[in-house]
Amino acid sequence: MSKTITIDGKQVPFQEGQTIMEAATAAQVYIPHLCHNPDYEPHGSCKLCTVKVNGRICTACTFPAAEGQDVINNSEELAADRKRITQMLFVEGNHFCPSCEKTGNCQLQGVAYHLNMLDNHYPHFFADREIDASHPDLLIDHNRCIFCSLCVRASQQSDGKNVFAISGRGINKRLIINSSSGKLKDSDIDVNDCAAHICPTGAILHKRTGYTVPIGQRTYDHKQIDEVSLAAEANKHD
């Protein structure tokens, strides 16, 4: 008999050591997330995957599943608050979807669609952020960075490098590059690195590949992010 938790009334089996997110994904239950990626150690910072476990607010990507947990993932309250958290990410950076190359493939945008976000709600910060176009093949637009730290983790855990790090405090948080000049061109990054492909938003882009897929034919132009996310996981195990 495998152990189970309940998510929105549905019995979900789990193995010892799994997080709520892992158990949910394996059972084809989508919990919105941005900083989480099943291939890397969970981070727990974006807080989009917040669920209620026996009435207590928990981060699904880091919280261990345990027998007897009654998890609420779909509720009006959670959906409304997750939308607000997404809106916070939008106003913190400078996200102009219509002029962003990532539009249609952007997970931040995908989550916003999924949560039916129709405006930014909060006042914009209009943060002064830079673009690093120094690298011959890659470009970093810091305006779009949401500090998910996936590039940091991918570089460490998959590429065996340390190209990225998070610096600064509070609202002055920023992504930094490990090179003498602080520019990407002087770092160890290779265009084929996992870290170069992991960005959920349009912060890390590949040069000379823009618009090869026209807007309108991109992932989230047609499919909801929950469907895409769960299908990606299901394919891995096939």
């Binding site: 807080k47 916070m88 006042p123």
Partner: protein, 592 residues
């Protein structure tokens, strides 16, 4: 530079966990931490330069641009403001000819604000090159300005500038019981470890940092871990504005605290302990080292303590200006030479703390109480206080009262009694537990000092009827936005949004929906933040909004909508560029 850094790193045994200590020395010597210094340090410690950059950028007392040879910081605590901080700051800025936040052109002096320095009973206070200045006044500022312009070394400045007094006005169990050096250790050895832990259990002692976790339980969990390499940490990162009792305890009762730590080390099986001392208490550093050295000579610390076979030693580690490091897992990260980012839990520090080994983190006052309990047993302690909050609590009282300072009370004491003792008159309200705690109004003074009613880590700020509640909430809200570590979205963005939204209302740009929006934002930050900082960051607004909704409403304009900015002043740049200032170049945004 290379030679200097090499020497500093050698003295720190090439340990990257001592990164903060290393950076403190580099900062002190060169007034900033340059790219060159970062690269040298990275290569000598064999860590990534990005780890160093991120640490430098995280802590308020590290800089990547040079500060002045005299770096003057003035405490921005509400209590300093109440003592006239703002006009002193303006005066200082004028006399020194340097803007707040800037370095004077000749590089001699820099001036800035800093979060509460823990001198609330002897403010307005500040720091000069890290050392505490108390009782600032115009006269004293004149003297300081002269000394700076004469380039007199800080060591030669009059001692009275740096005088920090205890101001103990009321002592109870902990502050009156004198424990001879070694007495608690001897009592523990005589009674036995499990029996002593049993006494701590009987005492029902709860953590004095404010959260109130059962101390004996924490120690028991740690002692039961399979991993035998264990640590213990004394949390002396007393950063909650309005709290200064640990400063006094460490100044006058350090031996008892160390004794409590030693008893704990024997019970949990730790060989190494740390005192994580907030950088603002640099003036206590040398005397703590001295106390430790004295105890080593008496065989109360080090190898084979009192021939018992127990080994335990303590290292004092200084912070570098980050309120969040008072959170235990952020403190542990900081001790490991990293940014102070609270960890995901579980695992808890008792199972995976310092270097991922089982670790007990307790407040200074908790260790002080532990020593007392080890000597006198748990019953005496649990007989004091209430059923759920045993023993006494040391309070730091400041603000509008005639006798600010340290007061120790049995739990269960009414606020009324405390206000009487410190001679507070015409009281509007009291902030209990600092900005992260509660604001209570003058209808609530029958409430009790207790975990089950008004819990506090020790901060107790009195406000009289001349004070502006919104200005208080604003000071606290700005504090949290400044101190948020930035890890999670709700706190990082939310605390800055709270600041914007509250400023908007206070500046008179709010309209009917804005208080509702403020309340909604408060709930979001409170419910979804990763750690205690974010979860309590909205308290200053929530507790005052609950008690004084009319004060917030009064700020609102009587229109259905008001933009969050002033259109006319926003057009100033455009007017300047167009060289226009006629009536048509000014636009009223809302018809009044």
């Amino acid at each position: 530079m290379k030679q200097f850094i090499q020497k500093v790193i050698e003295n720190n045994d090439f340990k990257s966990v001592r990164l903060l200590a290393i950076l403190r020395e580099i900062q002190a010597k060169y007034l900033y931490i340059s790219t060159e210094a970062i690269d040298i340090t990275a290569s000598l410690l064999n860590i990534e330069r990005t780890q160093i950059i991120s640490v430098v950028d995280f802590y308020s007392f590290f800089h990547r641009q040079a500060r002045g040879q005299y770096d003057l910081l003035i405490s921005d605590s509400i209590t300093d403001h109440m003592l006239g901080k703002q006009s002193l700051m303006d005066y200082l800025s004028l006399q020194l000819n340097v803007a707040v936040g800037a370095v004077r052109e000749d590089g001699l002096v820099s001036l800035d604000n800093t979060s509460c320095t823990g001198m609330c009973d002897q403010g307005p206070a500040g720091l000069i090159n890290g050392y505490a200045l108390t009782h600032l006044s115009k006269t004293r500022i004149d003297e300081i300005v002269d000394l700076i312009n004469q380039q007199s070394p800080v060591n030669d400045w009059p001692k009275r500038f740096f005088q920090v007094t205890d101001n103990i006005h009321k002592a109870d169990l902990l502050l009156t019981t004198e424990i001879a050096q070694g007495e608690a250790i001897k009592a523990t050895l005589k009674r036995g470890l499990s029996q002593t832990l049993e006494e701590v259990k009987t005492s029902d002692l709860r953590g004095r940092g404010g959260a109130g976790f059962n101390t004996s339980m924490k120690w028991l969990f740690c002692s039961q871990e399979k991993e035998l390499e264990r640590y213990l940490i004394c949390n002396a990162d007393e950063g909650e504005p309005g709290t200064f009792k640990d400063r006094v305890i460490l100044n006058t009762y350090a031996h008892q605290v160390i004794e409590g730590m030693t008893v704990c080390s024997m019970i949990i099986g730790a060989k190494q302990g740390f005192i994580y001392l907030r950088a603002e208490y640099l003036h206590l550093y040398d005397q703590l080292l001295h106390a430790l050295e004295q105890r080593r000579k008496l065989a109360l610390l080090g190898n084979n303590i009192l021939q018992s076979g127990f080994d335990f030693d303590i290292e004092v580690c200084l912070g570098a200006g980050a309120y969040i490091c008072g959170e235990e897992s952020a403190l542990i990260e900081s001790l490991e030479g990293k940014r102070g980012i609270p960890r995901n839990r579980p695992p808890y520090p008792v199972t995976q703390g310092y270097l991922n080994k089982p670790t007990v983190v307790d407040n200074v006052e908790t260790f002080l109480a532990s020593a007392q309990i080890a000597v006198s047993g748990g019953k005496q302690f649990s007989a004091i206080g209430t059923e759920k909050s045993t023993g006494t609590k040391v309070l730091s009282i400041s603000g509008d009262c005639q006798r600010p300072g340290i007061y120790e009370y049995p739990f269960g004491t009414t606020i009324k009694e405390i206000l009487f003792d410190c001679a507070a008159e015409d009281v509007l309200g009291v902030q209990i537990g600092g900005p992260s705690g509660n604001f209570i109004c003058n209808q609530e003074f029958d409430r009790l000092l207790a975990f089950e009613d008004l819990a506090t880590g020790g901060s107790f700020i009195v406000f009289n009827n001349s004070r502006n509640i919104l200005a208080i909430a604003q000071n606290f809200t700005h504090f949290f936005a400044h101190e948020s570590c930035g890890f999670c979205t709700p706190c990082r963005v939310g605390t800055s949004l709270l600041k914007k939204q509250l400023d908007k209302i206070i500046d008179g740009h709010g309209s009917s929906g804005d208080v509702v929006a403020l309340d909604e934002l408060c709930q979001l930050v409170k419910n979804y933040s990763h750690c205690g900082l974010g979860q309590t960051a909205a308290n200053p607004i929530l507790t005052t909004l609950q008690r004084y909704p009319e004060l917030y409403q009064k700020q609102l304009k009587d229109i259905s909508f008001e933009p969050g900015f002033n259109l006319d002043s926003s057009l100033e740049t455009a007017r300047r560029m167009a060289e226009r200032n006629d009536a048509n170049a000014h636009i009223v945004q809302v018809e009044e």
